[in-house]
Symmetry: C2
Subunit: 217 residues, 2 copies
DNA sequence: CTACTGATGTCTACGCTGTAGACAATAGTA
DNA sequence: TACTATTGTCTACAGCGTAGACATCAGTAG
């Protein structure tokens, strides 16, 4: 007997809000119900189980990416980079949902739309389909990992009392200790992303038969 | 009153066996206890909570990697590749544990040992520490993603009735449909890994001041 | 207007989870 | 022999996802 009736969209957006605000572990059917002032079981009139609710949340996040925002007149390298950056930005806007996305993307149309767009950018530039898939796979997983890592200190590492390496014996791991001290493991994650993207783009360029991007009309 | 007394190692190896055999979801404290013919609560005499048990499982898997197996006389590119390949091979030997490793590596000495080794290979070759970190981050996340994806069809996708893209409208996603038909999304995952590694290595080579690998004595 | 039908929200209950706290039994030492 | 620390057992609690019965309502056919 809520306002005027539950909808799938209300469930999805409430679920995403819970995840954003209080983390993935806070999203339970009971919590979802109480958020919508409704019996926990009411959700099951609109979704078959919690798994599909999670899929819908992933779809909601992935649909925030505007694949048409990349300027078509730019060279393919820049378009690919722009798409990847906006993908990462979207994940960073919902870092608590990143594990979800890493696990359950490639299912709904919203996610596939982004992948298809990236594939087209690369194959239009002359890349092999297999190499293009390798590139988005690597970039997608990396972005999810980065977004997840960026929120790990907030949600999860509070159980381990601080940074991942805090309290580690610096002797035996001199390079890691040095990197941790320089903040390269947490602050420099955007650099990680850029480095990987540039590496993949350069590899695609090297493999492409023509020296510069071909333009197939 | 079991055989002669529980140990942390018995718990860890039993936990890993459960994960390997029946998946991550099958690992509960009750199941762990029944596997060892012991009360579920007995485990808590040796570990503070389930989370540290999971950390131990990650450590056990990571410790299977033999970082000294890579021939030190090889050029750094080959050594890095060998290390990455043996990392992926280890993950593929425990695909059900891959999500665990993606989430909880960089905590115990066993994991850090591998990372430190990779860092040293790269920095010895003249790479910047930041670039080296970017490389292992990307490779590590990618390997975990690949291992996870390779088992996803077994453990998880049985709920979604088959391959990720099965039952998708091919129109609208022509490239993805083509890739799925060619098996590039499941069979070609090793190629994804090789492509990414080669790309990262090439990027490191390009950034390194000296054209070929320097040898610091 | 009545009676039926389908949709939607509610309630109770089951088996599962991690784990706190009391109790029992055993091993090692003074 | 008596005390103590360690380790396994038992019971119990709050939480989880969700199956199934029941209640309430909107819309339609007679």
């Amino acid at each position: 007997m809520a306002a005027q009736g539950l909808t799938r969209e209300m469930l999805t957006s409430a679920a995403l809000r819970i995840v954003d605000d209080d983390g993935l572990h806070a999203l339970s059917m009971r919590r979802l119900g109480s958020e919508l002032r409704v019996d926990p079981m009411a959700a099951y009139r609109h979704i078959p189980n919690k798994g599909t609710l999670l899929d819908e949340v992933v779809e909601a996040v992935m649909s925030e990416i505007d694949t048409d925002a990349v300027d078509a007149s730019l060279p393919w390298q820049d378009r690919l980079r722009a798409l990847a950056v906006s993908y990462l930005a979207t994940l960073m806007a919902h870092p608590n949902a990143a594990p979800l996305i890493a696990e359950r993307s490639l299912r709904g149309a919203g996610s596939l739309r982004v992948v298809e767009k990236a594939l087209r950018i690369m194959t239009d530039a002359g890349a092999q389909l297999g190499d293009a898939i390798a590139t988005i796979d690597a970039i997608g997983l990396l972005a999810a990992g980065i977004a997840q890592a960026s929120s790990a200190s907030v949600e999860q590492a509070e159980a381990t009392a601080g940074k991942p390496l805090a309290g580690l014996p610096p002797e035996g791991f001199p390079l890691l200790a040095q990197a941790a001290a320089a903040g390269a493991l947490s602050d420099g994650l955007a650099d990680v992303f850029n480095f990987a993207i540039d590496a993949m783009i350069a590899a695609l360029e090297a493999k492409s038969p023509s020296g510069h991007g071909p333009r197939v009309p």
